[in-house]
Symmetry: D3
Subunit: 177 residues, 6 copies
Amino acid sequence: MVEGLRALFVGRFQPLHLGHLHVLSWCLEFADEVVVVVGSAQESYTLRNPFTVSERLEMIRCSLAEAGLPLDRFRVVPLQDINMNPVWPRYLEVMVPRFHVVVTGNRLVAELFRDYGYPVVEPPFYRRGECSGTRIRELMVRGDDSWRLLVPRCVASYIDRIGGVGRLRRLWGGGRA
Amino acid sequence: MVEGLRALFVGRFQPLHLGHLHVLSWCLEFADEVVVVVGSAQESYTLRNPFTVSERLEMIRCSLAEAGLPLDRFRVVPLQDINMNPVWPRYLEVMVPRFHVVVTGNRLVAELFRDYGYPVVEPPFYRRGECSGTRIRELMVRGDDSWRLLVPRCVASYIDRIGGVGRLRRLWGGGRA
Amino acid sequence: MVEGLRALFVGRFQPLHLGHLHVLSWCLEFADEVVVVVGSAQESYTLRNPFTVSERLEMIRCSLAEAGLPLDRFRVVPLQDINMNPVWPRYLEVMVPRFHVVVTGNRLVAELFRDYGYPVVEPPFYRRGECSGTRIRELMVRGDDSWRLLVPRCVASYIDRIGGVGRLRRLWGGGRA
Amino acid sequence: MVEGLRALFVGRFQPLHLGHLHVLSWCLEFADEVVVVVGSAQESYTLRNPFTVSERLEMIRCSLAEAGLPLDRFRVVPLQDINMNPVWPRYLEVMVPRFHVVVTGNRLVAELFRDYGYPVVEPPFYRRGECSGTRIRELMVRGDDSWRLLVPRCVASYIDRIGGVGRLRRLWGGGRA
Amino acid sequence: MVEGLRALFVGRFQPLHLGHLHVLSWCLEFADEVVVVVGSAQESYTLRNPFTVSERLEMIRCSLAEAGLPLDRFRVVPLQDINMNPVWPRYLEVMVPRFHVVVTGNRLVAELFRDYGYPVVEPPFYRRGECSGTRIRELMVRGDDSWRLLVPRCVASYIDRIGGVGRLRRLWGGGRA
Amino acid sequence: MVEGLRALFVGRFQPLHLGHLHVLSWCLEFADEVVVVVGSAQESYTLRNPFTVSERLEMIRCSLAEAGLPLDRFRVVPLQDINMNPVWPRYLEVMVPRFHVVVTGNRLVAELFRDYGYPVVEPPFYRRGECSGTRIRELMVRGDDSWRLLVPRCVASYIDRIGGVGRLRRLWGGGRA
């Protein structure tokens, strides 16, 4: 671990899954602190972004605690999109705590930060293909309970408590209520 | 009819069709007044939203009059979208006259208002499948005149007067003018 | 009255006062219909714009009824500001029912519509100086009840019912709650 | 302290001062967790809002640590303004972790949350008049070093490190660079 | 050439190709000056809009010079989108130098300006089908170098210099960096 | 003159005056090209920003020509404001042609670009105090014709042609048209 080094990790956490948690934990190997940006903060109640920021912040909090990760080494910041791609890295510099390295598996994010001058690191995959937000939302919509195995236990019970699967399935139903 | 009860009905009216009119009339059976929100007010001159708010307001006005419905029991309010779904019901509370019950066949609208605490009623269908904005716009694009049977008479002649079918067909034509 | 002629009247109605009502009634002398735009729709809970659109729509409705004016000759449309002045008249053309003449005592509105090509008419004053939103809000803040004489009776009781004077006075109080 | 109770505290922290710290610490007496909203997140490099969110987040972090307050009982969330006052409480519900009580000395915030249905508590003053962002910025502009006595020690040295006083004084200088 | 006549040409120039250059040159046959609007100015680093405005302005400048066209008869203005179609022609009147004729092959642009009252001219095609931004970006993504034959020489070398093809291919790669 | 060096000059040009022209000409002494940004592009028809971008672009064009300055060494770009100060220099990098040095007498612009890493040069004054947009607009409002001596001749006659003084005076008149 490099003292004082801060890693930036950007995700939408729709929902937070074991892959996210794996990356967050992996960041602590080299970074002193991790700035976790909850992106597309303005989005929710859609098939692609079913959960609100408020809900996603709860998922992150309980997952870090459940995994025994040190809460005080994570700085979680929700962030609304701005629609001007190459301005985005600068927008982050202004809106989140200072960071030195960008950890991302997203091509656009990688491209934008490299062109802007930051080192970009691709995180190791964790159960590639399985642990993806898209796949988890598909399982939920299909009524396949195996999504529960892909998220931290506290996330599964939080989603139950807020009726998240029902919400997603109703949204998916299409035009009629 | 419950005295003082106000129903909210949200539609895009692209264009207003007999299904809309049927619901508006049905609302009067239980509601004293109907708050009619003309949604996506900022959209027009697209395949999905060909008509301006100005034009849609004329369609609503003439249809209510032609059907002999009492104009003074309808409160028509155009409304621009805000892109933050769970905030939307509160936005409506601030931007339209007070209402007590939400009448909608749209799944997202139903989900948002139920979670926010309003009773949501699904209106009866009128010639299901036929009377839908999507289908009417398709007929127009194809040059099939049977769309005229699915809208109030005054709407058909208003669309003729503003050259609405030609507009839609030209927009549909794709890249070249 | 010129058949088919429509007048546009734009106001913020913070709150609706006897001057507004006088102009609205005066418009009916020459216009068949009056398009009443409730401007700065997004503003409320400020000293300059204490009332929401929802509340302002109620004031307009009850005032027209109380004055015995024909509801069906008024088309009331709330409208959010866009911050690009010379584009504004075009924005209105798209967002409100068609109109032919602009009735306004506001210099900017007059300038914009004249430059855009509409005839602009200045309405007669009614108890000039007294009947102004600014003055009425000042009286409210000072706790001077004479504002009641400057608005329609139903507006005064509506403002009482929603606790409007208290709201304005609390907002005016400054930094501490 | 009420188990599970969460207090909401909204501030701009321009800069964080001893009054803020006093309130944050006072909240822990009755609340289990404090949701700290850093408002007007989009503003910086102005006389009224000299510091960026990134900088304000550092001030909050170091102050909580320096005061020995438990970091894990604070949930800090920056938030951009939306310009539609009565929609604001709902926007917060969606964008920050759930809360039950609102702690604020700001009249508008108090009015909005009371009308929306939350209990609102006015925090005790700490060195009233002295400990205010406005006053601290005035001292900085005047070159009066006594502002250092009104902020936590780590905030003073952080502002030194980023050259905050120079920035403010240059901005204040007016039109010429 | 009609003295004093100004033509408006709107394009996204993603990238500028020989078809654009052909139209710009053709405009000079009848127009004194050409107002060149670089549309969707806010977009870049996407598959459909890979280049920034800054980059597109360089392409236009060097192409006009390389083709020996008179720089002083072109007025190049980048313009961000506004999302209200029939307001768009008015927005252009306010934001770009005065123009009299609209040259466009885009159906929506043609429809909007005709309805607003401008004469609209469809430009002659140049190597139809080949010279299109969509096709050029597809060739780039596929690694097919023949795109170089469809753009001015200086544009090809500018795109090389800024690594434009690599950027596009990386963006196209999908989710992982 | 340094070959290839580009200077950035930002102004609102409300209206363009001899001071602006003096700076633009002075830039050519050391810069190969000057990127002229017409700021606050969205503003017009206000006391502080009476002229549209379209009008300001005409003023710049005719002034450069009248002064015999080489048109092809100036790159004029209108730009709408974004309200996030430290993001602004990055926004310019994306939206205007590349530049190396910033020429400005505005303190905020200087502060933002210095912090972002650009060299900032303060231009020499030209008839300090007299040649300022604020002063010229004041003279116009007062009906004092001496403003004509402070702008290029072609700007004075352009303002006459569009009735600019009348517009400003009517806007200044206050509430009634």
